[in-house]
């Protein structure tokens, strides 16, 4: 057991930092860059294409798909540095983390050829059509229907709280093809398909982040089905397991915390009360960091990953909460325009326990699978 980076890992981190220093706009730290604004999405396409050009967009993907088979540590170091910089890849981080790898695993050769190269080139944005007005944590209850009619499916229903939908090219959509938990299927749906309406929902997270998406008898070819009919549960579990530890939110939190402390020190407001809360937040970030590393390490060694991933995710939620509450309490002026970077962090941090699955679901998994507590009767 050792906690030091090897030379290749240090060099790789330096390479990523140098890239960020050279390619982020000079005013990056002062831009109010909400994660899904039109500006951010356009910037991300340019930025991700530049990343791809130097082999830094999908280094952990197989060479066959534009990667170079880098190990799980390299992928995570890359993600840490991107999140520490406020995630300039915008919504494309989802392509890199789980949409691409999921299509590699479950897609047909035609689907792979159509969708993976644009992701590897940083040219495309996806959204995730999971939640519905009546189906959030209870995803298996979703109602959006996909009815087979010869060589097509007709999709009818509604998704909600969908990030990036207004700028996305394609939707990774869950829809019901038959009743019951095993009656849900995944469809890869171009967002320009007639019958899709996207409506932005004003949100705390920032301009253009979450949406309602309406599917009004949307006709798609049958080859838009990913995997087999009814296989969505397996596919979604794979996708979510990649997503849960693919987002090193703690690195953005650490950056924000240090930025806030520096402000307080400069203004001579870093007294004992602030100091204790900052220490608590910093320790929470560090716990989240090493929890996450332990999952990456397991992945690197090919070991099974179970409820530990939920524990790592929850540790990250605690860290994000500690930092965002620290900033609100001790640097409140950041919420009123004094520091757009701290505001951007805050707006991302408040969804840490909500996006990609409610934190309470993680607690249920931890209680049952890590602690072995008896399950709640249903």
């Amino acid at each position: 057991m050792e906690f030091v980076w090897d030379n290749d890992q240090r060099t790789f981190r330096r390479t990523v930092r140098a890239f960020l220093a050279a390619h982020l706009p000079k005013e990056w730290e002062t831009l109010a860059h909400g994660p899904a604004t039109e500006w951010q999405s356009a910037f991300s396409k340019r930025f991700c294409a530049e990343l791809a050009a130097v082999g830094l967009l999908v280094p952990h993907w197989p060479a066959q798909w534009g990667g170079r088979d880098a190990d799980a540590w390299m992928a995570f170091i890359l993600a840490e540095e991107m999140w520490a910089a406020g995630e300039p890849r915008g919504g494309q981080y989802m392509n890199v983390n789980w949409i691409g790898p999921t299509i590699m695993r479950f897609g047909t050769p035609e689907q792979q050829a159509r969708y993976i190269p644009p992701m590897a080139q940083g040219m495309t944005l996806w959204c995730q059509g999971f939640s519905e007005p009546e189906s959030g944590s209870d995803l298996a209850s979703l109602r959006t229907r996909a009815e087979r009619d010869g060589e097509t499916y007709r999709i009818t229903g509604q998704k909600i709280w969908t990030s990036y939908a207004s700028e996305a090219d394609t939707c990774f959509l869950l829809a019901r093809t038959s009743p019951g938990r095993n009656g849900i299927s995944v469809f890869l749906v171009p967002m320009t398909t007639p019958g899709i309406t996207v409506r932005s929902i004003p949100s705390l997270i920032g301009e253009g982040d979450i949406h309602e998406v309406f599917f009004d008898s949307v006709e798609i070819p049958s080859d838009a089905l990913l995997g087999a009919e009814g296989q969505a549960w397996d596919i979604a579990k794979t996708a979510l397991s990649l997503e849960r530890v693919g987002i090193p939110r703690f690195s953005f939190a650490i950056r924000a915390l240090h930025r806030a402390v520096k402000t307080l020190q400069r203004l001579q407001r870093f007294g004992s009360g602030a100091m204790e809360r900052a220490a608590q937040a910093r320790a929470a970030c560090e716990a989240a960091r090493f929890y996450s590393y332990s999952i990456v390490d397991r992945r690197r060694h090919g070991l099974p990953i179970g409820a530990e991933a939920s524990a790592a995710r929850y540790a990250t939620v605690l860290a994000e909460r500690a930092v965002s509450e620290f900033v609100v309490e001790f640097v409140p002026e950041a919420m009123s325009g004094s520091d757009p970077s701290l505001l951007a962090h805050h707006q991302r941090a408040i969804v840490a326990g909500i996006a990609s699955g409610a934190a309470e679901i993680q607690l249920n998994i931890i209680a049952s699978d890590l602690l072995g507590l008896p399950r709640e009767p249903r």
Binding site: M1, V4, I254, S272, R282, A283, L363, L373
Partner: protein, 306 residues
């Protein structure tokens, strides 16, 4: 970065686990606070386990693993300071090694061969002989004692004191790590068996979530203690101690709340871990002092993730 145990570390973990396993149960007739483990201590002495950290194949990480595992026993043995702090003391200091802060009673002081004395920013050292220490009755589940006022304290230099304080932080974090795991395990066992409203208490989501949060905190405490042992960096030791003491406060409360009246009895072993935790949360000045230490280590320079 590689969290796989080496072959030597695996062997150590297995050997310590075997020893600890033989001392896993509280004697049924014991209904008191400080359950001391003379037989366990002799086994550790005989196997030279108190020098783990000085063996290159094991090092401080091996010592943290051992302290963590042994702290899960219901028996209280002075392991943490011997294994993690003693290698940094002058004159091949004899064990048991203990700590006295500001003249207050300390753990294991009555039988100590080396006592570290903290007074403000200063740390001194005492090698007590007969009559220099007194046993003290306490609700804490350690044998508590105090130094008599007349002992002579040899001061450590500022640099020596800084190193000793850093490893005291690691030692406390490692011991808390084991104690909170044992407290959680004991609580999980109880709420998995005790039924109310026709079902196990542990099947109620309100309780499940709180215990799950405790489990997450416990994992973080362990990782930070291991990291601090490996890096030997002051900032890591401060973070480990802060997170350990902060988590200990929460977890001790939650475990007692889950056990309710059963946890108030001295028949149930929970207090053997929680009232050790309560002793540890005040050491080295408690959370507020660790916060100052974290600020000095983390917020006065860079923020690299090395």
């Amino acid at each position: 970065m590689d969290f796989n145990l080496s072959g030597d570390q695996e062997a150590l973990a297995s050997a310590v686990d075997k020893i600890a396993g033989a001392f896993a149960a509280k004697p049924t007739e014991f209904h008191d606070f400080a359950l001391t483990g003379g037989a366990l201590e002799r086994e550790l002495e005989d196997g030279d386990y108190f020098n783990i950290a000085t063996v290159p194949e094991w090092g401080p990480i091996g010592a943290v693993m051992a302290v963590d595992r042994l702290a899960r026993c219901p028996y209280a043995v002075e392991t943490a300071l011997s294994m993690l702090v003693r290698p940094h003391l002058p004159n091949d200091a004899p064990r048991p090694v203990t700590l006295v802060e500001h003249g207050r009673p300390g753990r294991f002081v009555a039988g100590a061969k080396t006592v570290l004395v903290i007074d403000g920013d200063n740390i001194g050292i005492v090698y007590p002989s007969g009559g220099d220490t007194q046993r003290v009755e306490s609700i804490f589940a350690y044998p508590m004692g105090r130094l008599v006022d007349t002992v002579t304290v040899e001061p450590l230099s500022i640099s020596e004191a800084a190193v000793v304080r850093q490893w005291l932080q690691v030692a406390i974090a490692a011991e808390i790590s084991g104690l909170i795991q044992a407290a959680i395990a004991s609580t999980v066992e109880h709420i998995s068996q005790r039924k109310q409203f026709g079902r196990p208490l542990g099947s109620f989501q309100a309780l499940r979530h709180r215990m799950a949060e405790c489990a997450v905190l416990a994992g973080g405490v362990k990782w930070l203690a291991l990291k601090a042992a490996d890096s030997a960096a002051p900032a890591d030791a401060a973070l480990a101690a802060y997170h350990a003491q902060d988590s200990a406060v929460r977890i001790a409360y939650e475990c007692h709340q889950m056990l309710a009246a059963m946890g108030m009895t001295l028949e149930h072993p929970l207090h053997l871990w929680t009232y050790r935790l309560k002793a540890l949360v005040s050491e080295l000045g408690g959370r507020s002092a660790q916060a100052v230490s974290v600020a000095a280590g983390c917020f006065n320079g860079g923020m690299d993730t090395d």
